[in-house]
Amino acid sequence: MKHLLGTKDLSRDNAILILDTATQMAATQDRENRKLPTLRGKTVVNLFFEDSTRTRISFEAAAKRLSADVINFSAKGSSVSKGESLKDTALTLQAMGADAVVVRHWASGAAYQLAHGGWLHGSVLNAGDGTHEHPTQALLDAFTMRKHLMDTDGTGTDGKGLDGLRVAIVGDVLHSRVARSNMHLLTSLGASVALVAPPTLLPVGMDSWPVDVFHGLDDALDAQPVDAVMMLRVQRERMTGGGASFFPSPAEYTRMFGLDGQRMARLSDRGIVMHPGPMNRGLEISAEAADSPRSVIVEQVANGVAVRMASLYLLLAGEEQA
């Protein structure tokens, strides 16, 4: 694997390899000395064109636990005020000797362009590009689900996918790279996916997607027992104002799509509550749901480090690929 740009083209076998490797990485994090020498001498650059302290710290921790050198590059600029160009930034990083670039960018496709633009020789790991993909988020979500839902006979989860699980993704699918990446990965791993959103927050042109669509959370919960419900963050700004008009009001959204204690009780017996964070408590998820024993939201964060360690290992540890 030279790059990790998305889950759309990630085969089931490679996805399971990443998850199994993450299991071993997670095990090392229980030791007193959590650091491994594996990527010593490698340089990982966190190239963030969009602020995201949590994701950046997660990648930084992952790289450092594997003894890689980490350089944080916070690039300025947006589609309105263009800063240093993507190309020039990439050439600078190449000159600095980056073995891997972890890139988060506001433009969809930026990771692909970095990987194939001919400016960088190292590996590119997509930490979120616009509304397109966020593969390590989907992988840590899958890792979390697998850990809680697929070790039914105590033999562990190695080699297993998510076969037979039912996962509901609820919220602003239209603008969510987390939803897209999860949809591809969950399907590859054998889970069935329900997307739950008002029609205004679902993309036109999704007819061929292998998902069931519901326009109310109650409908989704009634249709089939849901093993994992993933609540997406909804932006209030998108709701009403500025002519965006995706939804009449936050209250109506919460009424129809919010996860509260009552809806949570209708998940399957082993059902878990997930959220990529940061949460709008009281909007898409109630405090009761967020803090319940079924919630694995905090654990998702810890799993993020293990999954990112696994990703960096698989991209960088082996012989350099062309």
Partner: protein
């Protein structure tokens, strides 16, 4: 050079082989050419009336880093064009007699193509007040076409007034059909590819709804309207309906909308970012059929040069637009002639006669190839096979979506009023 030129052996309009002759800027009887005439062996070539582009961006004044009237003229003559209509979205905007006269006379000065400036519909392209279209019509540039391209004339009242106003001088409003509210932040065609790629969509209805409104308006006030770069099947249907009702509407299609689809966006390469966007295969089929059956009257390039920093960046940050002047003939031959959808005579119709008529420059351009007519000529080699190399194009910019592609057909000689403005290497030395 005061002597005559004889062009022998070409298929006239792609039909019968014949010989034509030129002296002093007009076509003459070959028998009168005289012994000292320069002879051009045009065996195997197709002779067309000089091509007329109704939609070009020359960027001067304001963005001379991307293109100048000179480099654009050179690109045009190399592409076989003898006349181009330069769009008004320059800096300053071409919304006064002063600016259009400046552009027109610069074109005359360079003398490679006739540059006919298109005037803005509204001042500064802001869509608020009508520009002084009468003054522009009466200027030396004799503007007849008015357009706020690349912005839509969105306010229906402004569009109505503009349509009414230009009737007095036989003008036409040329509309870039794009509902501004439905396409805020749009990046590519709204469909299954945009859903997957996470790029904001530009729905077909945003083009079709404006076209529907404008053909109805034109019919209501009795004006003529020209629709730019038709890109969707629905748009073709609407124009076909409007024509069946006797509405005075004409329409154009670009070469890229005849060939490329939204699948090109999968590489996120901004060379494929254009407005209106590349659409589905079904849309491309419908546009081809519309051009073949006359619903779409002409091919126009929408040649849109951009400096490399405006294309060598993230898709969302890139400017919209593609080069087109030098590749248009090749794409049209590949898509329309070689598939049998059109003959070379049809090509003459859609790339010379009809655009000249719409632009009201048909006193000098798009004329029949007959004795006495101005000698604006394009010689095409249909057997040519060439690879598009961005650096080898005459344009100052390099944003062609066909880079590395092999195209058939090339203009090998272009004549503007009898003067050769472009000569392929094979004619080197013919004009000593």
């Amino acid at each position: 050079m005061s002597g005559a030129i004889v062009i022998a052996g070409a298929r006239i309009n792609g039909e019968d082989v014949g010989t034509i002759a030129v002296r002093d800027g007009v076509l003459i009887d070959p028998a009168d050419a005289g012994a000292g005439a320069t002879r051009i062996d045009a065996e195997g070539l197709v002779l067309l009336p000089g091509l007329v582009d109704l939609h070009t961006h020359l960027r001067e004044p304001g963005r001379e880093d991307a293109e100048t009237i000179e480099s654009g003229s050179r690109a045009a003559s190399r592409g076989g064009w003898t006349a181009v209509h330069a769009m008004a979205n320059t800096n300053p905007v071409a919304d006064t007699a002063g600016v259009v006269e400046q552009v027109w006379s610069r074109g005359q000065e360079i003398g490679l193509v006739d540059v006919f400036p298109v005037g803005a519909v509204t001042v500064g392209l802001k869509g608020e007040r009508l520009a002084e279209m009468g003054a522009m019509a009466q200027s030396r540039a004799r503007v007849r076409l008015f357009s706020d391209d690349g912005i839509c004339v969105y306010d229906p009242v402004i569009m109505r007034r503009a349509l009414e106003y230009v009737k007095s001088f036989d003008g036409a409003i040329v509309q870039h059909a794009q509902d501004l509210r439905l396409t805020e932040g749009s990046q590519m065609h709204e469909g299954d590819v945009s859903a997957e790629l996470g790029l904001a969509g530009w729905p077909a209805v945003a083009e079709e709804s404006i076209i529907a409104r404008d053909v109805l308006l034109a019919g209501h006030v009795g004006s003529r309207v020209h629709i730019q770069h038709l890109s969707t099947a629905g748009s073709v249907d609407i124009v076909r309906w409007a024509k069946s009702r006797g509405i005075n509407v004409t329409a154009e299609a670009t070469p890229h909308h005849l060939l490329l689809t939204h699948e090109e966006a999968r590489t996120y390469n901004p060379l494929f970012k254009v407005n209106p966007p590349l659409r589905t295969a079904e849309d491309v089929e419908a546009v081809r059929a519309g051009l073949a059956d006359g619903t779409i009257d002409i091919v126009a390039t929408d040649h849109a040069p951009h400096a490399s920093e405006d294309k060598d960046c993230e898709w969302a940050a890139a400017s919209f637009g593609m080069l087109g002047l030098e590749t248009a003939l090749g794409v049209v031959q590949k898509v329309m002639v070689e598939s049998g959808l059109m003959t070379w005579k049809d090509v003459a119709r859609v790339m010379s006669h009809t655009p000249a008529r719409i632009g009201r420059v048909d006193a000098s351009h798009g004329r029949p190839l007959a004795v006495g007519e101005p000698a604006n000529l394009t010689l095409v080699d249909p057997a040519a096979r060439w690879i598009v190399e961005p650096a080898a194009l005459a344009s100052r910019s390099h944003n062609t979506p066909y880079a590395g592609m092999e195209l058939p057909g090339r203009a090998v000689a272009t004549f503007l009023r009898g003067k050769p403005t472009h000569l392929d290497g094979r004619f080197e030395g013919v004009f000593a």
